[in-house]
Symmetry: C2
Subunit: 686 residues, 2 copies
């Protein structure tokens, strides 16, 4: 595909060189390789008709230096624990990464199996089933560990990887390449702040800074000088250099070599700012108007000629072949405890309560699901060294407190402050580095991380996300602490399947401490994404040590024949409260705790049919989750069903308790009895 690879190879020289001439020839070789990759990148984008090539080629020297010279990694196993990582924050750099990977022979997933890519594979860029999708995605190219491309989100993933490396005492570094277009995203600020707080010297943000932002000349706020000032003010040691001067790049990256191994509190995280030109080497593409456009036809021919011309001044006869990257010695894999063995070693809920001196509470028969989860996390953390727990503002949230307070587990706890999107990115990074990550925040603030959660689902990582104070239970803390709509979006994830037909995520809504404890363990053991929504407050025990909970199942609490009541979470208790009055009204109801989405639809349909096709779905959330899931499951069969939905129809502004909120929302036990009676045509007035 490229006209330069053969030229580059012919310029290999084995003659001994002086230091100066060696540097000169290394520079010349870097230029030659950089121009080769830029050429291929322009061609790839033209063929595919997609991409942002002028942004991509602005980083061509940077990628060449990182991938061929400075990073220590093995082309044959780029995900070895010893290997330096390169994470693209902006997917615009993807074709450039692909060009280098094809040149180096990194493995891609082609026609159902893995093999070393060649430049011929670059023609598939962006095509269906390509190893080189427009947005880098795990499972396609061996070097890609996470789905990326959400603007401003890559550095959080890199922080996750770096935290994993620190836990493994690995010397690997994580480079994260960030574009101009991302500078305003708040999540980037969140990630930068966390690097400073954690003194994470093994993650290195690399800014590809140009005078041109996406849409016009960069303003004072996003200019290079402003960026350097901002980074320095935060506490970074910022190294700014000419992004097209090979020696300067090498020197700058060299400065990060030792830092990664330092654990001293005085060592400062470093940030690299590469001053780059959009469309470097192709003068005809350097106007702002070219940013974001694919170059084809005559314009492409001119740009390629520009690049050829650029080569003349920059490379020379002494150019040497750039060697392949030098790997570190491979890190032997720790013999990982299997999750199965860890679960065997984890006590059951009753035992965990006893171990925590909470036997009296246990006998009292009430506990918050949050506390049950906290117990489960500590127990699991002790049994499995790979478990990491993250929380935003832990003190307010309190899912992780027992884990965090256990001295043996503290190093595996990450307080992410009030930075929800960042936290999910970090958790995703940890998970893709092989850790079992459990991340918690309030349901209300977790909606900020929706995009990161979709990225996690797309990455196929094993991750448990905990949304506390879901539904109406926290209404006393205000409307700004209450979240009822998030569930609709979570359900959309639970309703999709990955390529193997597994749900892209499970949504779990436990109703008591037994369920919360058991589902926490089941979620952690699940290979994939799980979202647990926990109600606020304390709940009475509904279950016991005999009850089993499985992803995709539900629990029948009462078996009747007149009406199927489907509910979950805190509302299970309200439905229970209505039981006596339902009975008095002559209603023999079946009650299902639908704690998991998706669920066993055939089994639920059987119950619905056994109850005359009459279904009442009750949730303290907006519609769109439970009721719609049940409707969707029932309507496909073509049998007649009456499905009525009781949910939060109007957002609640103010109430001092869950009970008050249920009353306003018309979801209290007496409302349930009235609605059930109406549905069955029973006159309750008499």
């Amino acid at each position: 595909m490229s006209q330069f690879s053969s030229t580059a190879k012919s310029s290999v020289s084995s003659a001994p060189l002086t230091n100066n001439s060696r540097t000169a020839s290394l520079d010349a070789s870097t230029h030659a390789k950089a121009i080769q990759l830029a050429t291929v990148t322009l061609e790839m984008c033209a063929t595919a008709g997609v991409g942002n090539p002028t942004v991509a080629i602005s980083a061509t020297h940077l990628f060449t230096t990182l991938l061929y010279q400075s990073m220590r990694w093995d082309v044959a196993s780029p995900r070895d624990a010893s290997a330096d990582r390169l994470i693209l924050s902006d997917a615009a750099f993807a074709p450039l990464l692909y060009a280098a990977c094809a040149d180096l022979g990194v493995a891609g997933f082609v026609d159902g199996s893995w093999r070393a890519l060649t430049t011929a594979d670059l023609a598939t860029f962006g095509a269906v089933d390509s190893a080189l999708p427009t947005t880098p995605t795990p499972g396609t190219l061996a070097i890609v560990e996470n789905a990326v491309g959400a603007h401003g989100a890559g550095l959080s993933l890199a922080v996750g990887h770096a935290l994993a490396a620190r836990l493994e005492s690995s010397a690997r570094r994580v480079f994260c390449v960030i574009s101009d277009a991302e500078l305003r995203e708040g999540q980037l600020s969140e990630a930068l702040a966390s690097i400073i707080e954690e003194r994470l010297t093994n993650v290195i943000p690399v800014f590809v800074a140009s005078a041109l932002s996406t849409n016009d000349r960069a303003n004072a706020v996003d200019g290079i000088e402003a960026l350097v000032n901002r980074l320095n003010a935060m506490g970074f040691e910022t190294i700014s250099f000419d992004g097209h001067a090979p020696a300067q790049i090498r020197d700058a990256v060299e400065l990060t070599a030792d830092a990664s191994q330092s654990t001293s509190k005085s060592s400062k995280p470093k940030a690299l700012v590469a001053r780059c030109i959009k469309g470097w080497g192709a003068k005809s593409l350097q106007g702002g108007s070219w940013s974001g456009r694919v170059v084809t036809g005559e314009k492409l021919a001119t740009a390629l000629q520009d690049l050829r011309n650029a080569r003349i001044g920059l490379t020379n006869a002494f150019a040497i072949e750039l060697s392949r990257p030098i790997p570190r010695e491979k890190t032997p894999q720790n013999p990982a405890v299997s999750m199965h063995a860890a679960l065997e070693a984890t006590p059951d809920f009753a035992r965990a309560m006893k171990d925590a001196d909470m036997l009296a509470v246990y006998q009292g028969g009430r506990l918050s699901t949050r506390r049950a989860m906290s117990l489960a996390l500590r127990a699991l953390g002790r049994a499995h060294g790979g478990v990491s727990v993250l929380e935003c503002d832990a003190r307010a949230n309190m899912v992780s407190d027992m884990f965090a307070a256990d001295r043996a587990l503290t190093p595996r706890f990450n307080e992410c402050r009030s930075a929800e999107s960042h936290m999910i990115g970090v958790a995703c990074g940890l998970a893709s580095a092989g850790r079992v990550a459990i991340a918690s925040a309030s349901a209300r603030s977790l909606v900020r991380a929706h995009e990161q959660l979709e990225v996690a689902a797309r990455s196929g990582v094993s991750l448990t996300v905990v949304a506390t104070n879901s539904g109406l239970g926290a209404i006393a803390e205000g409307a700004s602490a209450t979240s009822t709509n998030d569930v609709a979006w979570f359900r959309a994830i639970a309703a999709q399947q990955d390529a193997s037909g597994h749900p892209t995520g499970y949504l779990l809504q436990p109703s008591d401490a037994f369920a919360a404890y058991a589902l926490t363990l089941a979620a952690a053991a699940h290979e994939g994404l799980t979202i647990m929504r926990l109600p606020a407050g304390e709940q009475e025990f509904l279950y016991n040590a005999e009850t089993t909970f499985n992803l995709g199942k539900f629990e029948v609490l009462v078996e009747g024949r007149d009406l199927l009541i489907v509910t979950a979470g805190a509302m299970v208790h309200e439905v229970n409260r209505a039981l006596d009055d339902l009975d008095k009204a002559g209603i023999d109801a079946t009650i299902v705790d639908l704690y998991s989405l998706p669920f066993d639809e055939a089994a639920l349909l059987d119950l619905a049919n056994a109850n005359g096709g009459r279904i009442l779905v009750i949730e303290d959330n907006a519609s769109g989750a439970l009721a719609s899931s049940v409707s969707d499951a029932c309507t496909a069969a073509g049998d007649p069903f009456i499905i009525e939905s009781m949910c939060v129809r109007t957002p609640i502004v103010s109430a001092r308790s869950f009970d008050e909120a249920l009353r306003i929302a018309k979801l209290s036990a007496s409302d349930i009895v009235a609605r059930a009676s109406r549905l069955l045509g029973i006159d309750t007035k008499s």
Copy 2:
């Protein structure tokens, strides 16, 4: 409620005072009032059992100085165009604001009408239907214009208000009080950057900075010194002062007095950093462990005694009664053009195309919905001076380009860079200041603003949010540019109602340029939230100048009797493409373009019944929106329906075109024919 108001009144002195003694007595009076408000705040939180009183009272001197002395506003009309504004970013300050408002007699909505509040009303804090909900919400207290309380989100609202003030050439300032707990939220960084870029000197971020963060001693990243450095590095003139020294507070605020009126490019935005003590005045509450806790019983008694003791050293016999706030002269309201008149003056789509020299394109019969919307926005902007358009990364998105390029409209265009949450906050601020705000970003990145959109819905503001590149149409730009799940969450908003029974939002999905043009105007005219999802690419014209589009309606494209096909957006065209083959298969289908959620359910049920209860719902999105809406509407009736859903079941990783994506997702015309045939039991193999 407070034991101090009478004491404070008795200390009024009318004797002439020297300047020094005047300052001293003003300080003494401020202390007296601050202690009064702190006392009431602790009592309110104790009564309600909610709140974060130690955080609230840390700002008691600040609120006293701002509300009683420095801000220019009229207690009787706090929302007058001339009045300085106070926006709480952290809802923890709400009880303190309420204490001051009750003391000053600001109007609240009590038992169905507005009246001046008294301290007796404070007992209702957080109760159902209170004028003083835990989270400040519009419609309850006259001074509250926006729902607040999302951490880190308040400053964006304030920026919106400040932009509105600038457009009105008003001298009002907007103060935004931000707590420690919010410093890590990325949206705060986004808002700060935009203030610098816009040189907005009339919005003043006020940080209540304490040594204690929410969960432990503030770390190096969030400490006061780090905050000041960060603000200065961004380009603020930062004024740091003792938050409990009345004269220092007055002087600091005084420095912002002129700045608000400067439009000079050299004037620097100012930020105030008040060094405050959590639980000021109540020594017994000053440990970190008290943060976030309500203080009751003996602890409360001790705290109140602490406050009484504090008063002794800080107030003196010369304390004067703090005067009521001094209002500016009222700003006469501009005679606003009514939206009705503006719509009358707005050309129809054909005329707008002609005005834009696009007659040839019009005759070609194809245009992107994005371009049609751009035309509508410019036409509407010319007809109505209150229209403001916002966009994130406008060049990439291109909904606003015609508006932004029109010199008369440029001042009403706001480029918000890649900062989606911030943009929605700004739009919400503009809308609550009376402007018609239309804010656009890609559907993919707009999910970051979910929380801000919920806040907008809760605020009841008139706001149009545009999500471009929705569904599978932008798949060539990569999975990171594709958004199929956002629709489920938008639908949850569209399925809820406000207190008056109106939908909390409409979700609109136009399928062609006529629909996009008309729905843009309808959305702008709607008093409430509207979310428009635009497909990527160009679409053929389906409609003409005769077609009318209304929120809550749908369009019947074809009337049949065998099968009701319900679809929207880009998929309407794919269904059209299937028509011939449906006909050949002997299927006489009804086709509905369900461009609005919610929709006229009774009318759709009639159509369903006229088609034998057989419904096929087709969308290039995740399930949870169209199909679930139709299911929910049908299942309540109890009639037998067969509803099948064709949607994106598996996220698409890579494809070079919409057509390729439809093929992989099994949503192409031939898939539609096959599915319809199967549903009707027709053997297509023969």
